[in-house]
Symmetry: C2
Subunit: 351 residues, 2 copies
């Protein structure tokens, strides 16, 4: 399976031109679905899992948004490719070759399906900026077309039945990746996270569950999937995100009004290091790119686009670097290649 074509694909969710893209990086919705006539995965044998995989792969040609998709089976897939797909948000850490896991990557990486992850099927749509409504429209279409050719496990009382009770009902998880440097600088972020948590939403760092909030980026998603319609869940999430956006914007205005020089200093130092370092870890890169993004969003830096910063976030990750290099690299070589990639990209942009 050749994944190299993805390296040159600038997925639409990376372009940084969606609504509220100065604060919201991306919006994502996924639906958990299971097929009638099969046990939940934990209770299946290999034969059933292969059957599920074949069944789903066999129908994708009939689902128009999936036409021209790439099917990637995890069995036999090199670890590097698996990490690469994780970095691109196309698969989760849980998708396993031992469970005949696979991913179907739709055109432009907008829609994707994970097969045999925790549920038989997970459908995902990811878009740039604050685009939950658009994601919802699009994922409904995929879901509806799939439902025409697959029979879902569905209870009139509970809704969609899922392997983990936390997904029962809508089976929907909607999440928004949001960049909150001003709220972090003003030390208001802990309070925001607390409040958001009390409102029934989950707040996580850039790399999903349990990860720390590197680069001032936070992923906010719904927790409950039961007892409310998808539209209600999305409406609640959007309302809260809108309020956080207002807070962040106010925070940024205050920074520009009262601490312009300090903020410019932080932004330009980040640019100076990114433009000059010969060795740089991914942790430091994320923090400096966060400052760079703030520079673009505050219109302090005008020679760099938001899309470039977004792409650097993605392409400086370990598996992306190694795919770009075409070979596996030790940590120092990665740090050197990462530094070079960043310099080249920023220099190219500056011209």
């Amino acid at each position: 399976m050749e994944l190299e074509y993805l390296l040159t694909n600038i997925a639409p969710w990376l372009t940084g031109d969606g609504p509220e893209a100065d604060i919201v990086l991306s919006s994502r919705i996924r639906l958990a679905r299971n097929l009638k006539g099969f046990n939940f995965l934990r209770k299946t044998g290999e034969a059933s899992r292969r059957e599920i995989l074949d069944l789903i792969c066999g129908v994708i040609d009939k689902v128009s948004p999936l036409s021209g998709s790439t099917v990637v089976k995890l069995e036999g897939l090199p670890d590097l490719d698996r990490l690469f797909l994780m970095e691109r948000h196309l698969i989760s850490r849980e998708l396993s070759p031992d469970y005949q896991g696979a991913v179907i990557i739709g055109p432009e990486e907008i829609v994707s399906l994970m097969i045999n992850e925790e549920d038989h099927l997970r459908i995902q749509i990811i878009r740039s900026g604050m685009s939950l409504s658009r994601c919802w429209e699009e994922i409904q279409k995929v879901d509806a077309e799939l439902e025409k050719v697959l029979e879902y496990e569905y209870s009139p009382v509970y809704g969609y039945l899922t392997a983990c009770p936390s997904n029962v009902g809508t089976g929907m998880r909607a999440s928004v990746m949001i960049h909150l440097p001003a709220l972090v600088l003003h030390k208001q972020i802990d309070k925001i996270i607390q409040t958001v948590g009390k409102l029934g939403l989950a707040v996580r760092g850039i790399n999903g569950e349990g990860s720390q909030a590197a680069g001032n980026m936070f992923q906010i998603s719904n927790q409950s999937t039961l007892g409310k319609s998808e539209e209600e869940i999305l409406g609640d999430l959007e309302k809260i995100i809108s309020k956080i956006i207002v807070h962040e914007r106010n925070g940024r205005r205050v920074l520009l009004e009262r601490q312009l020089l300090r903020i410019e200093d932080q932004i330009y130092r980040a640019l100076g290091i990114l433009n000059n370092a010969r060795l740089i870890t991914s942790e430091e890169t994320i923090d400096l790119l966060s400052a760079l993004r703030m520079g673009v969003d505050l219109e302090v830096l005008e020679t760099i686009t938001r899309g470039t910063v977004n792409q650097l976030f993605l392409y400086t990750q370990p598996a992306h670097l190694q795919k770009l290099a075409g070979s596996s690299l030790d940590a120092t070589k990665r740090d050197a290649l990462r530094a070079k990639l960043i310099r080249d990209k920023i220099e190219k942009e500056g011209r």
Copy 2:
């Protein structure tokens, strides 16, 4: 007294083109002298000190290396100007308006005289690079010409008599400012300092006695002035400095051979921050300029000259910045102006 002319004067000791200038910043010799017929300063009254001042100022026209000198009396001199002269190594912290202190600044700031510091007269020569012999030749000439028109306190047994016993004999203090980044990186510097101390030399940081070794710069000077001739003292000092230079050169070679990428990373990061910061303290500046100088000396950076780095060391100090601005500035304004000065200078150089 207008000192502004000094701001545009690139003193020869700053040009960075003396012998061994990749390691030795500057060489300096000063001679302590006292006038016959006057008590040492601690036991003089104001009238005597004025008499000493007038006496010395009255003869400088007869001393050819001092022709065209500027006389700066400390009485009434703004604090900023005093600090400015200290930063240029033209006066010491001890030279005081309360003691009718004054400085005579020779052409190009090569030779200077301090009057009424600890002794009645201190003669100084400062030159770029490892230039103790040249300094010695030149200071002997100034000293000899002065001795024709002034009568020094001199004992056939002890030599020149001085206010502090530690200067009796030759009255000579020779010092070399030396940049040792490789020995610091290799953690060999403490051993070197210990050894040098045992050999009867003093090692100090960039700003003289008691100051820390900021920017990997060390000032090494003779301690004893008695029982040996000036030539012997200078010979011993030169011999030890030569050995330190060999060690530093070896250290640099090892860095280039074994840690090139790490060293380049350090150098380019320093350049990137200096080139981009909007606020920078003098402490951080010294450390980053040290890395920049190493970059120039190791021929990693080729667009910047050693002279530029030397000038930045001097002109980014607080009094220099405020003299350049033409007004007194608070710490934040200084940090902002310092950052701008550095950016402008490096950008100009790069063109």
